[in-house]
Amino acid sequence: MKLRLTLLATLSATAAAVLGACSSMPDHNAALDQARSRYELAQANPQVQSLAADELKRADLALRVAQQALSDGQPLANVDHLAYLTDQRVTIAQDTASSRASEAVVKGAAAERDQLRLAQRTREVDNAQRKLGDAQQSNALKSAELQVAERTNAQKSADLQVAEQANARKSAELAEADAAAQRAQAQVARRDARVSDLEMQLQDMNLRKTERGIVVTLGDVLFDSGRAQLLPDAGRNMDKLAAVFRRDPARRATIEGYTDSVGDAGANVELSGRRASAVMGALVSLGVAPDHLSTRAHGEAMPTASNATAAGRQLNRRVEIVFVPQGDELSMK
């Protein structure tokens, strides 16, 4: 029994010694060192820290086990094995962190897409509403324009009526103007008839139309030179003139005397006056109303030709009967 006990004690001591011999290992292990430094690198990475905390913890645990094995002096193969496991745990932690970071990116991108689509839809709705608003505004505007157009139409109708009335008035005025024109034409015809009548009556006499009226010139053949006594030859001309007054008793005439420039101017005025009076006397004696006649003495003024020649002087010696134009004759001329 005692022997067995001693044997047992010896045995255990030997076993311990054998085990001690087994664990006679170096303090460092290259594989473990590498695994540790990789773990430390991962552990210092905030992304791995925050996104793969559990995986990092398992790597840490594996590292501790490996280090314990090393300090326990476990066989190299075992420490290498544990270092390998640690290394793989570190790799898993890093991969996991990377996966989760990528998933976050996916989520972010999806969120961005959703936001973009939402923004797009919001824009589309806004656009649609704006278009609707524009359309409504446009409609309102068109309604207003329609109203304005209707008012304008009404106004135009009114204007048209006014214009028609104006037209009717104008037609009436035109008719009136036509009538007036016809009247005027009739007047002209009458005046022309009268003028031509006068012309007919005074045929063969020296007659010209002036602004003052119809002028009949009696040459100096009626008088002896320097005298105011009508010659008998003048009688036929006087009859013709008197006949004019007989046919148109309302006629008025001015009898104007002229001389040439021979002799005293004052005497010439006096002579021309006497000759005019002689003609007037002759006409009155033939029945012309004296208050329809008047005389004027011009003397040597207003010559009709040059006084330098005998022929000119003869033309200047004259008596002119100026028939005062009657109302319509003057106005129409």
């Binding site: 010896t10 094995h81 991969d95 996991t96 996966s99 990528s102 990116v105 897409r113 923004a119």
Partner: protein, 131 residues
């Protein structure tokens, strides 16, 4: 006392026994329990990791895990249980690495794709509505 004496008398026997014990101790040092559990875990891990995605994105890691699992089985066959246990444990770790590697690669691709999609959408919207 008696005992001591008897010990001394049996010193040769003792030395012999000691040598035997030392040999047994050394054998104990190298031997280990049969790692059935570790092998099962490793097999499950490798099987789980053996997906199409892992084949495509972490072929090297997956092959390493499979290779170690095969080696573990081999070690089991030759009753080298310690080696079988380590290989099984490494095979499991390798399978996990293959999985995490494939997942991170896939996520990276997905991130790239979704960023591209967002960029395309942004550009399209910007073209559609430049205001």
């Amino acid at each position: 006392m008696n005992t001591l004496h008897s010990t001394r008398t049996t010193s040769t026997t003792l030395r012999l026994a000691l040598a035997c014990i030392a040999a047994a101790g050394l054998a104990a040092c190298a031997s280990a329990p049969v790692p059935n559990e570790q092998l099962a875990v490793a097999e499950a891990a490798v099987q789980r990791a053996n997906s199409t995605a892992t084949h495509e994105l972490a072929a090297v890691q997956l092959q390493r895990a499979s290779g170690k699992l095969a080696s573990a089985r081999e070690a089991m066959g030759s009753k080298d249980y310690e080696r079988a246990r380590r290989l099984a444990e490494q095979a499991e770790a390798d399978a996990l690495v293959a999985e995490s590697h494939a997942m991170s690669a896939r996520s990276r691709l997905a991130a790239q794709e979704s960023q591209d999609a967002a960029r395309v959408l942004r550009e399209e919207l910007a073209r559609k509505a430049p205001l």
